[in-house]
């Protein structure tokens, strides 16, 4: 049976205003709402598609911070077979080195054939975790992928990438491999809330302690701050004629009209 691992992460929800901590070296995580990383949502969908097509087993792995349980109930409702939480006793997400360290220790114990995760996340200050994980495991990596298929045969899988200018690429990769997903082959499926609520009653999570360890980076964050506004949009006011005249003046002034 094929073993698929999908990694999901919570990231700051940009629906809310971000708040920087008083030390100006990080976000104020106690005031930061978190949401599922968008490309991880797509990675989960791609993992579900592979599982359904190849009758595989899907294990969803996440670090235990924020309201990750809600995301994991959703994953269970969608069809995840096994859910593992990596203990993480901090309000802020692990950095990408810490994440990769823990995943690098966990994944070999799961006999995984395929690891999928979002190819990027807002919290990856120290490089992209998916590529680093592949390096740590010594597995091949393909990133910014928009679909995975077992068409190549002989243990080779086909992955699809999209480049700027509507250029599509098909690549072959031998499993086991780590795939960084940008978008899934189809939009992440909607699962009714009643199923999520049912999963919250029945789903069992395995929590693994001691897997995550602090890892220092050679890169230091010197300062985190909100982008200062250096200019702003000018709202043209007045009657339609006045606004139209001002628009024409502006276009002439900028050399668009003569």
């Amino acid at each position: 049976m094929m073993n698929i691992v999908a990694v999901v992460r919570l990231v700051p929800d940009l629906v809310e205003q971000l708040v920087v901590n008083p030390e100006e070296d990080n976000l104020d995580w106690d005031q930061t709402a978190l949401t599922l990383n968008e490309s991880d949502d797509h990675a989960l969908e791609e993992a579900l598609l592979v599982k359904e097509k190849h009758h595989g087993q899907l294990t969803v792995v996440a670090f235990d911070y924020g309201e990750i349980d809600q995301v994991l109930y959703m994953a269970a409702a969608k069809g995840a077979d096994r859910i593992i939480k990596i203990a993480w006793p901090h309000p802020e997400p692990p950095n990408s080195l810490e994440m990769v360290g823990a995943l690098g220790r966990l994944v070999p114990t799961l006999q995984a054939d395929l690891v999928v995760m979002g190819c990027q996340s807002q919290t990856e200050f120290f490089g992209m975790a998916a590529a680093q994980l592949a390096a740590r495991l010594g597995w091949p990596y393909v990133g910014v992928v928009r679909g995975v298929q077992n068409q190549a045969g002989g243990g080779w899988w086909k992955v699809f990438k999209e480049y700027p200018g509507a250029v599509l690429a098909e690549m072959e990769v031998q499993l086991p491999a780590v795939i960084g997903i940008l978008t899934a082959s189809q939009p992440p499926r909607y699962v009714p809330v009643s199923r999520i609520r049912a999963a919250s009653q029945t789903a069992r999570f395995e929590t693994i302690d001691g897997m995550a360890k602090p890892e220092e980076s050679a890169v230091n964050i010197r300062r985190v701050y909100l982008t200062p506004a250096t200019s702003h949009a000018e709202m043209l006011k007045g009657t339609e004629e006045e606004v139209a005249r001002r628009l024409v003046d502006l276009l002439v002034e900028r050399g668009v009209l003569k």
């Binding site: 205003q17 499926r189 009714p192 199923r195």
Partner: protein
């Protein structure tokens, strides 16, 4: 796309479908359907539906639901209650057939149209269909010159708990209406309060769209929220929310005194009349929203409010009161314009604006937050935005009372 459910699970879902379909809400059950087809021919989108209500019931009898749930028809009902109103057997088709078949489709893994999926997810995550921060619920009160009692900050007993609603809280055009309501309530001396950033959608549209679990979640959250506050009655701007509170919340033990603002204000007309000093010289036609109108048979209070305004000449569209054509925004239709136009060939708001234009009215008056944007857009599509203005009754009242934006 079909789900990966086992057959036994699927069997449970079918059983739930039959329970929802054949359990009477009001009146008879769907077993009493005599297949007359009046529902299908009355439905404003029935001609475009492969499976209108009559056929869904027939297919349910035959146990052949698989094709039904894969048909676009499942997502085309806009919750106008015309089928329920006209059914000679008084079957509550809108509130039974559609939620049942949609719930079954969702449970079987059928994916709703993308726009609807987004609306559901936003409701689940943020408690509003827009996906905006709950902290921004009070933005409509910026620069409002009357005091706003935010009960989420200072819980105190109020006469009216005003549930502002998602559109009036967040949608710029509807924020004007919310401010008009705040000024009118204050002018009338009503002790009113709102829930501020704690308010969440009441959830009628997702119930109609078969998202029973989401609806239940919202009901549970709202019930717990309401229990924290003391109030005499709840007043709402959104007729769909009013309908949910009136009819479906009691099933979850939340029996709450609720009124739509049109009936609340009409009952205070004697108090309002002395304020109505500024004439509005205009020919006005009123669009009955489906929930307060056809569903709750409440047709006169909105008209009484309009007729009380000096200068207004009220004229009726050829389809009015219980026969009014829906704007197409109910039951989730608000987020399905592209889907319904693709499969139904038209937007009902584009048809309805023609009815309003036929009357020669200067103003199309409405009393539902969905309708302002729907009809303003329809007027633009018709190239008639200079001929007819769309205004909520609250805006007209506020203007006549000298309480409009900028004191007008």
């Amino acid at each position: 796309m079909s789900g990966n459910a086992s057959s036994s699970l699927s069997g449970t879902r079918v059983a739930k479908f039959y329970e929802m379909l054949f359990s009477p809400l009001e009146g008879s059950t769907a077993w009493a359907c005599m297949q007359c087809g009046l529902c299908s021919s009355s439905c404003p989108l029935g001609d475009a539906m492969e499976y209108p209500p009559r056929r869904i019931i027939a297919e349910a009898w035959n146990g052949s639901l698989e094709r039904v749930i894969r048909s676009p028809s499942v997502w085309m009902c806009v919750g106008c209650y015309t089928c329920s109103y006209r059914c000679p057997r008084q079957l509550d088709l809108t509130d039974t057939v559609w939620p049942a078949v949609r719930d079954y489709a969702l449970q079987e893994g059928i994916q709703p149209p993308a726009e609807l999926r987004t609306a559901f997810q936003n409701l689940y995550l943020y408690g509003n269909v827009f996906g905006y921060s709950p902290r921004k619920r009070l933005e409509w009160t910026k620069n409002l010159e009357v005091a706003v009692r935010d009960l989420s900050k200072i819980p105190e007993r109020v006469e009216v708990l005003w549930l502002v609603g998602c559109y009036p809280s967040y949608h710029p055009r509807n924020q004007v209406v919310a401010r008009a309501m705040a000024r009118i309530l204050t002018a009338l001396g009503v002790r009113w309060g709102i829930l501020g950033k704690e308010e969440r959608a009441l959830g009628d549209c997702d119930r109609l769209f078969g998202e029973e679990g989401l609806f239940e979640m919202l009901v549970e959250n709202n019930r717990r929220l309401f229990e924290r506050f003391e109030f005499e009655k709840i007043v709402l701007l959104d007729p769909h929310a009013f309908r949910a509170l009136e009819k479906f919340y009691p099933r979850f033990g939340a029996v709450l005194p609720a009124e739509h603002y049109t009936t609340f204000l009409a009952s205070r007309l004697d108090q309002i009349r002395p304020w109505l000093k500024n004439p509005i010289q205009a020919r006005v036609t009123y669009h009955d929203n489906c929930c307060v109108g056809r569903r709750c048979r409440c047709f006169e209070p909105p008209r009484q409010l309009l007729q009380a305004i000096p200068g207004i000449e009220l004229v009726e569209m050829r389809r009015n009161r219980e026969h009014a054509l829906c704007c197409g925004g109910g039951g989730g239709g608000m987020w399905l314009d592209a889907f319904i136009t693709e499969h139904g060939g038209r937007r009902l708001s584009d048809v309805r604006i023609q009815h309003a234009l036929e009357t020669g009215a200067d103003i199309l008056a409405v009393s539902c937050p969905f309708e302002l944007s729907r009809f303003e857009d329809a007027a633009k599509v018709a190239g008639a935005e200079d001929r007819i203005k769309v205004r909520d009754i609250l805006e007209l009242l506020a203007e006549s009372m000298g309480l409009g934006e900028g004191g007008g």
